[in-house]
């Protein structure tokens, strides 16, 4: 009975917040969990739960999978707004359940924070877990990356559901060995292409074999430590690939799966990896290929993840980057663009960003050719200004701003192409200011 009332009250809160135009986020789940820590048991779930985790690309992959299933006529519930911790997932349940706790959907697709995978799926029946990548991210919140991987590994030791892994990330691929009994492991990978490189110079994790500590050998790198690797000592690597993306043409947004060509709005290899994961799920759940192709062709997040806009006639690209790898990927896009460019870098240090801003020193700023000005903003604009100055960019072309509004106004003083890179709690603010500026 108690749970019944918890659901009613938290549902009322969810609806009330919605009336006032606010997204409920974590609040209802937070309250429900406070009132009953076993509240998850109250829900009756008929559909299959698919979880998506990893450092970068969770929202994009999760939302793409949800879209694929929806377009194929399935009933889907998902935390599309990226509330991916225990309380956020609980809020999604509260919003979508009946008063008796029934969740009526064919599929429940849940973006899940890496550190909450063991916590949440100890309590819920998980049908499929997708693991994208592990990069350095918010170390002060999660503890060291290795600790995080070991936590997930421990969870996987007695998990026998479907496990979809990025074969090209040695930190992810190793998790296939957590439970030798599990026969439901599926790897995805992206073939060597124009973007691939022989050398790595960005901040890297996992360059040593997790099993025998020998330095891994790479046939090629795709970005950061993602690539085709093998341990020369114990033969770790070379997994059997279930889903391989081939004939990669990043600039035109094209790739092939099993000879069939796919078209996407995205033009970065980094996004292709998310699409590879999403299409692997689609294949595994037997979604018709034509339907998947259509979804991939139309799919775009438009929430500050590789978002393209035209503001005051200036081509503008906005991307979220909360760690060095995400930043390097954004910078790589900008380096390919031969136009004159202005850069806006926004750095916050709220708890959700990680209070520690040291990570900006692992960003590779060596190639800023064609960048006319760099505007820095957010809570820590001066840290970012020092960073780019020390990388050799002329100090007189760096403009630190304490207000995002001011930064956006400065940004559009010229007609150059704009690249905006912002971290987690900064991104929506920046988008809002840019859109307001466009209207005014």
């Amino acid at each position: 009975m108690k749970n019944f009332f918890i659901i009613i009250i938290t549902k009322i809160i969810t609806i009330t917040l919605k009336i006032f135009g606010k997204n409920a986020g974590n609040l209802p789940g937070n309250l429900a969990l406070k009132w009953d820590k076993d509240i998850f048991k109250y829900f009756k779930i008929n559909g299959k739960i698919i979880a998506v985790t990893g450092t970068n690309g969770k929202t994009m992959t999760n939302n793409c999978i949800a879209q694929i299933f929806k377009d194929a006529g399935k009933k889907v519930i998902s935390n599309l707004q990226g509330n991916n911790m225990e309380t956020g997932i609980l809020s999604t349940f509260i919003k979508n359940c009946t008063l008796t706790g029934k969740i009526k959907a064919d599929y429940i697709i849940l973006e899940t924070d890496e550190s909450y995978v063991p916590v949440v799926y100890k309590k819920l029946p998980l049908d499929c877990l997708v693991i994208l990548n592990f990069f350095r991210d918010q170390l002060d919140r999660n503890g060291e990356m290795e600790t995080l991987i070991l936590k997930i590994q421990k969870f996987l030791e007695d998990y026998n559901g479907k496990l979809i892994l990025n074969a090209d990330d040695p930190n992810v691929s190793r998790l296939s060995k957590a439970n030798h009994e599990n026969k439901n492991i599926f790897f995805y990978s992206i073939d060597k292409c124009k973007e691939s490189a022989d050398e790595l110079y960005e901040a890297a994790e996992g360059t040593y074999c997790p099993f025998c500590k020998t330095k891994l050998q790479y046939e090629y790198y795709q970005y950061a430590h993602i690539g085709k690797f093998k341990c020369p000592n114990c033969d770790y690597g070379e997994e059997e690939i279930y889903q391989l993306l081939t004939d990669i043409n990043v600039d035109e947004g094209k790739f092939c799966i099993g000879g069939e060509q796919y078209k996407t709005q995205y033009d970065s290899l980094y996004a292709f990896y998310d699409l590879a994961a999403a299409t692997t799920v689609a294949k595994l759940y037997e979604i018709p290929e034509d339907s998947v192709k259509n979804t991939i062709k139309e799919f775009a997040l438009n929430n500050g993840r590789l978002e393209k806009l035209l503001i005051n006639n200036c081509k503008t690209v906005i991307n979220l980057a909360k760690n060095p790898t995400g930043f390097n990927v954004s910078l790589r896009m900008l380096q390919k663009d031969e136009n004159k460019k202005d850069l806006l870098l926004v750095l916050n240090d709220n708890v959700a960003d990680g209070r520690d801003v040291s990570w900006i020193w692992d960003i590779d700023f060596n190639n800023l050719d064609g960048v006319q000005r760099i505007i820095t903003a957010g809570i820590r604009p001066y840290d970012m200004a020092i960073r780019v100055k020390t990388a050799g960019y002329p100090a007189e072309k760096i403009i630190p701003c304490t207000s995002i509004k001011e930064a956006v106004e400065k940004l559009y003083e010229t007609e150059n192409t704009k690249y905006v890179i912002a971290n987690y709690t900064a991104i929506q603010n920046v988008r809002k200011e840019i859109k307001n500026f466009h209207k005014s």
């Binding site: 350095r136 990356m145 290795e146 209070r355 520690d356 040291s358 020193w361 001066y382 020390t390 100090a395």
Partner: protein
């Protein structure tokens, strides 16, 4: 042309918190003054470096698994490192490397990583795995009689004790142990600290102290470093100093806060 030679140890393994930014800051500030900077790297299992031929040696912090590997390798060079320190080569050691230069590091399970035993301090991990000294930190240091504040970020489970002379006095944050008054270890030619953030990026006085020391030792004459435009650095410092010290500093309230932690 004056020249500074820097040796960066294990850059691919001890690189946890943007610590390579320290090298970039040294290089930037030296080159701005027309000093040529050469940086060599030593990787695990590589050819033995000649520590004594360098002016500055830098070593950063790593994850636990990597630190154990590095410790084994570094022990091979114990005598050469000791000799270089005695000869006056400057050593900047951050986080894990700070610990490794002491007597030992004792993990949560009681496992012991032997240190180089160059300095007398030792480090033990706090038994509660969930507890770490994490957060922004501000200390006051004394550089040859000139007092300055050092700002940065600390993130360590290790509690370092028996420190002969600390790097600085804690104004905000934890330091060598939870609620410690002191942070790091210092000698004329050694700074060992838990502070990253990156340390030298926001503390140009420390960077210049190291450059000046290295030049004076190498060329045997007093050096006056040319002033640089540090507008960004000053603003970054002002921001953090205001955030944590401002009025509460004058009233001494932050001492109460540290005790409560």
């Amino acid at each position: 042309m004056e020249e500074i030679k820097i040796l960066h140890l294990y850059p691919d393994m001890l690189n946890l918190y943007g610590d390579r930014g320290n090298i970039q800051a040294l290089k930037y500030r030296a080159e701005k003054r027309g000093i040529n900077v050469i940086v060599d790297y030593y990787y695990l299992g590589g050819e033995a470096p000649d520590f004594s031929k360098y002016d500055i040696v830098f070593s950063g912090g790593g994850a636990d698994s990597e630190q154990a590997l590095v410790a084994n390798d570094m022990l091979k060079y114990k005598e050469q490192i000791k000799k270089a320190i005695d000869e006056g080569v400057f050593f900047l050691l951050v986080c894990g490397s700070y610990q490794l230069f002491g007597k030992y590091y004792k993990g949560v399970e009681g496992d012991i990583i032997p240190g180089l035993e160059i300095f007398d301090y030792y480090t033990e991990a706090i038994p509660d795995r969930k507890k770490r000294c994490i957060g922004d930190i501000i200390i006051e240091v004394n550089l040859d009689g000139i007092k300055t504040k050092v700002i940065g970020y600390e993130n360590h489970a290790g509690q370092t004790q028996n420190v002969e002379k600390p790097f600085g006095h804690v104004l905000y944050g934890q330091g060598n142990t939870f609620g410690a008054q002191e942070e790091g270890f210092m000698r004329k030619n050694v700074i060992a600290t838990y502070i990253h953030g990156t340390l030298l990026s926001k503390n140009p006085e420390i960077t210049d102290y190291i450059i000046q020391y290295a030049l004076e030792r190498k060329y045997g004459e007093k050096v006056e470093l040319e002033k640089l435009d540090d507008a960004f650095e000053e603003k970054a410092r002002e921001q953090l100093l205001n955030r944590y010290l401002s009025k509460r500093y004058e009233k001494g309230e932050f001492y109460e806060e540290i005790k409560k932690k």
